[in-house]
Amino acid sequence: MRPFIYEQPTDISAAVALASNFTTRDDQPTRANAQFIAGGTNLADYMKLGVAEPNRLLDLNRLEEQKLRQIRVTEDGIRFGALVRMGEAADHREVKARYPVIADSLRLAASGQIRNMASLAGNVLQRTRCEYFRETSWACNKRVPGSGCAAMDGFNRQHAVLGGSDACIATYHGDFAQALIALDAVVHAEGSRGARKIPFAKLHRQPGDTPHIETDLAADEIVTAIEVPALPWARRSLYLKIRDRESYAFALASAAVALDLDGETVREARIALGGVATVPWRASVAEDALQGKKLDEASAGAAADAAFAEAQPHQHNAFKIELGKRTLVRALLETRDMKV
């Protein structure tokens, strides 16, 4: 592990100023000399492995703005401060009641210890766990642009079938992000060029030819809050996560689903898919396919087929297409049958 300078700015503007001092406009946040750290559950790992090599860490845990640590429920929705820990949000009474899909997605992620440390903003910005990315002796376009992708023709059971490119098929492994993208969440960020709002769906970037560019953020921008708009019918929502063991494993496939039902007919559906795509994945085609339809195994199956119509399998992950579809069908039917 390389030595690094560790700083603890005490408010957002100081943190931004520091970051701005030690980074340039073109720096990617994950490749910049100065990087922010909150829970450290992802970045510290990657620093030990030599995957991330910032020489300056800006610890956000001392920022004095209390809103960063608050969950605020209003008529407009719910606002999560960026430094709220996963565990706090998962256990929040109003979150559980109003947005079960959010609480589920957090509860089913990581382990209790990690949920107690990891911040919500850090969670959505977590980097892929692709084995070939994690270990510096492999070729990886995300880690070293232009070096190639060892996963493409290697062992790729956990890799993405949606949103991949010739340069990268690394899966986005987060769970919370699937709930957020389904609920049209908005990210608040502050940087040297001021404060702005980013629709959650625009936060992550598909790999394309530049898999090392992972988000829309600048290197000196701090996520300050995540806002989820009010959606009364999101009480009928859930997150279903299918994995190799019962806890503490990434999704092979997952589905975040919220349903507005008129009897058994779908007025509106929100669907996002996890474990199968390179970025948080909103399945709008599946939502459209269900609108106005009676929700049953057949219509759910048709929606799932639509969601995976563009899927691209590789040697070991072809099963994710079938599994992803079945996961969505099961999630839709279980959401339909929820007692709310």
Binding site: M1, F155, R245
Partner: protein, 759 residues
């Protein structure tokens, strides 16, 4: 009594808590990398990123520039020491720094030593190798493998067992199956990482390293370093997860010792979890072809088991589980053959029940399949084929309680409620399946020495160079002394895990309890003899009472007549402060060389299939319930019941704990564990606990262990059959059996994963 401390039945000892339990749960137990050492320097390994070729150049400048760097040990620096010699005490014959040839992925290319752990790690990461790379062979089916017959390649695997005319019997069988099974690569991932700490005191070398074989390592390390073994000491008081991984010494130990000598200060190297995949041993992938022929009555007339195991280029490591599978049931005829398939991989090694885990998995999965083919209940099928003598040498079993195990486990599990029809049992969206399988493990024993001292204050000091690998051997050895000397367990101190203590065999092959307790028994009985002689001698407190049956209890010698004398008073009449006995136990059938070999670190094993009079095995039966989701096909295991018979149980708490751990591992082997090999590069891909999955608490629900009473005086003086490796044998087959019952899908390749059930 709670579930963790089962009430002892016949021939079972009290569930005493572990003597070191408090130390362990309060963090006071010092594991080898915790042992305090002053002025320590830290070492970190640099390893190869190719599996085959030569290192043409090593660039060390960046590493040398790291502040705090002290030394780099690499090519040329080990020339004055000998290469490792592959065998029981040494994991491989590859001396990684002796020449620049790369035999496998993750081979050691240098050791960076620095003032801090962080600097050592950084320097190691900055060491860059240039290679002359060759296309490596990854595994089965890769171009370039070399296949050789296993028989005779290892002292542990002498022959391919056979009996009768298999070909004729199979051809004539009314019902038959011919199937192939496989098990994946599996790597040890003990919570305690692998480590070596070495320091020199003059010309004496002390090594702190988690070890299951301190005596063997002392001798082998001395050989490599060209030293007198008496000047090498291996210290390993506690081990945080062994299971064979800390049985053979790896090349790192000598490298760290050399680094400590060069620097003139202690060096500690803790291997990262990723590096352990290439620098330690592992369970290689295996393949099996099994043919079973039977009459319509279910009697097996023909059994053939062919096995293929991957090993390295330089070393022919064999597990060869056909000795056990060939003796499991009353087959009419037996044919077996084991082959080794050499590839560009690190040398495999022992992992809990090395032969039985893969081979019995294949056999038991096939037995379940055969039962289904016959339309027979799988328990009944085993009952019908229960043998009177083992089929290979027609020897009796010293004891065999398999059917009792099946009966008791079936009863506790509720097997009678199982609807035999495949796919017939459901619970909402979950398909329910129930399955079972047999566990078997050979009962071996080896020579062992122990020293026991009884003091006039009533304290006992017990010393034995065995190893507390988490099994509770310290506790059961203390229990044996407590029982024989009539001293409460809290007055007994037990010292283990140090090569300066009386030698014990490697803690492998489930021999420790039997071997250690037999030696302790011998030492204690020698103390008893001295005490009785002194007590009954002229002037002694029990003078005149001859031909009495004595016992020791509560610090007193108690005669059958009721007369008693305090041990303290007997020692006073002897005018001694303590009686100390050094006992050397050699099992029945031991050769004249047996004790010499114990001191040389190459103890001979007896029992199992080796003895003339009988074959010796412990048995068990495991029953598993699985649930498979009807949509998404994930598999859950809500219930598992195992019943095991293993002779005398020294301590029902530690025995249950061992078997429970084995069953949990078995579930992991069935559903989770697999090392993925990138076949293009012969490199391991999922080298950490993020991607190398083992069961977590949520995966283990209702687990029940039944200890079936069994008495066997033939196995060893202690009457103990080892059970440390019994619990995870058969489990994976029981899970496969239950998955078949739930889904109708016969999965023959482990681990059983969602994708196999989606199609």
């Amino acid at each position: 009594m709670d579930a963790a401390a089962p009430k002892p039945k016949e021939n079972q000892g009290e569930p005493l808590p572990r003597v070191d339990a408090r130390l362990k749960v309060t963090g006071q137990a010092h594991y080898p990398a915790d042992l305090p050492t002053a002025n320590i320097a830290y070492g970190a390994l640099a390893t190869s990123s190719i599996a085959r070729g030569k290192v043409t150049k090593l660039r060390l400048d960046d590493a040398r520039a790291v502040p705090g760097l002290l030394d780099i040990v690499t090519y040329g620096d080990m020339d004055k020491v000998d290469k490792p010699k592959f065998g029981n005490s040494s994991a491989t014959s590859v001396g990684p720094l002796h020449d620049r040839t790369i035999f496998h992925d993750g081979q050691i290319i240098a050791l960076a030593v620095a003032e801090t752990f962080e600097a050592a790690e950084e320097a190691a990461q900055l060491i860059r190798a240039e290679y002359d790379e060759e296309k490596p062979t990854a595994s089965f089916d890769s171009p370039g493998t070399k296949t050789v017959a296993a028989a005779g390649k290892s002292p542990m695997f002498k022959e391919d067992v056979k009996a009768g005319d298999f070909d004729a019997a199979f051809a004539a069988a009314a019902v038959k199956i011919d199937q192939r099974y496989s098990t994946p690569t599996q790597h040890h991932n003990p919570i305690e990482l692998f480590s070596t700490t070495a320091y020199w005191q003059g010309d004496q070398l002390v090594v702190h390293e988690p070890s299951q074989n301190v005596t063997g390592w002392k001798v082998e390390l001395a050989r490599q370093l060209k030293m007198d073994p008496a000047k090498v000491r291996i210290v390993s008081p506690f081990i945080g997860g062994a299971f064979g991984s800390k049985g053979p010494m790896t090349p790192r130990t000598a490298i760290v010792a050399v680094a400590a000598k060069r620097l003139g200060r202690p060096v500690r190297c803790v291997t990262s979890r990723m590096q352990a995949f290439g620098t330690q041993t592992y369970r290689a992938e295996t393949r099996h072809r099994i043919r079973i022929g039977a009459g319509k009555d279910g009697r097996i007339t023909a059994f053939a088991h062919e096995g293929w195991e991957v090993t390295s280029r330089p070393d022919l490591y064999v597990v060869g589980g056909t000795s056990a599978t060939g003796r499991m049931y009353g087959y009419g005829s037996v044919l077996t053959h084991v082959s080794l398939v050499q590839a560009d991989r690190n040398t495999p090694g022992y992992m809990r029940s090395p032969p039985e885990t893969p081979y019995v998995y294949a056999l038991e999965n096939a037995m379940d399949e055969m039962a289904a083919t016959l339309g027979m209940d799988p328990v009944e099928f085993r009952r019908i084929n229960e043998p009177k003598t083992e089929p290979i040498g027609k020897k009796p079993f010293s004891s065999r309680s398999l059917i009792q195990c099946y009966d008791q486990a079936a009863e506790a599990f509720g097997w009678a409620k199982r609807d035999p029809k495949v796919g017939a049992m459901r619970d909402g969206d979950w398909l329910v399946g129930m399955g079972c399988a047999t566990a078997i493990y050979p009962t071996a024993v080896a020579p062992c020495a122990a020293r026991v001292r009884l003091t006039i204050d009533g304290d006992v000091r017990l010393q034995c160079g065995s190893h507390e690998i988490g099994t509770g051997v310290r506790t059961v050895a203390g229990q044996m002394a407590s029982e024989r000397l009539g001293v409460a367990i809290d007055r007994i101190s037990v010292e283990m895990g140090d090569s300066s203590l009386p030698p014990a065999p490697v803690s492998g092959g489930s021999i420790s309890t039997a071997s250690v307790c037999s030696a302790v028994l011998k030492a204690c009985d020698a103390i008893r003899t001295k005490l009785y002689a002194a007590a009954t001698a002229e002037g002694g407190p029990l003078a005149g009472s001859h031909n009495e049956d004595f016992d020791l209890a509560d610090g007193k010698i108690v005669a059958k007549s009721g007369a008693s004398a305090k041990v303290e008073d007997v020692l006073k009449t002897m005018q001694v402060g303590a009686i100390e006995e050094y006992a050397e136990f050699a099992p029945k059938g031991a050769t004249p060389e047996a004790l010499k070999k114990l001191y040389a670190g190459t103890p001979e094993f007896h029992g199992g299939d080796q003895d003339e009079d009988s074959v010796k095995y412990a048995f068990g039966a495991e029953f598993v319930e699985v649930r498979v989701n009807r949509y998404t096909r994930e598999i859950r295991v809500p219930r598992i019941v195992g019943a095991f018979a293993a002779g005398r149980i020294m301590n029902t708490r530690t025995a249950r704990s061992q078997l429970m751990g084995g069953m949990i591992w078995g579930i992991g082997q069935a559903l989770h564990e697999a090392t993925e090999v990138d076949r293009r590069y012969a490199r391991y891909v999922n080298r950490d606990l993020q991607d190398y999955l083992v069961p977590v608490n949520a995966d283990i629900k209702d687990l029940q262990v039944i200890l079936v009473p069994e008495v066997d005086h033939a196995v060893n003086p202690a009457g103990v059959k080892g059970l440390g490796e019994l619990g995870n044998v058969g489990t994976a087959a029981a899970v496969a059996s239950a998955v078949y019952h739930a889904t109708g899908k016969r999965i023959r390749d482990l681990p059983i994963r969602i994708e196999q059930l989606l199609v």
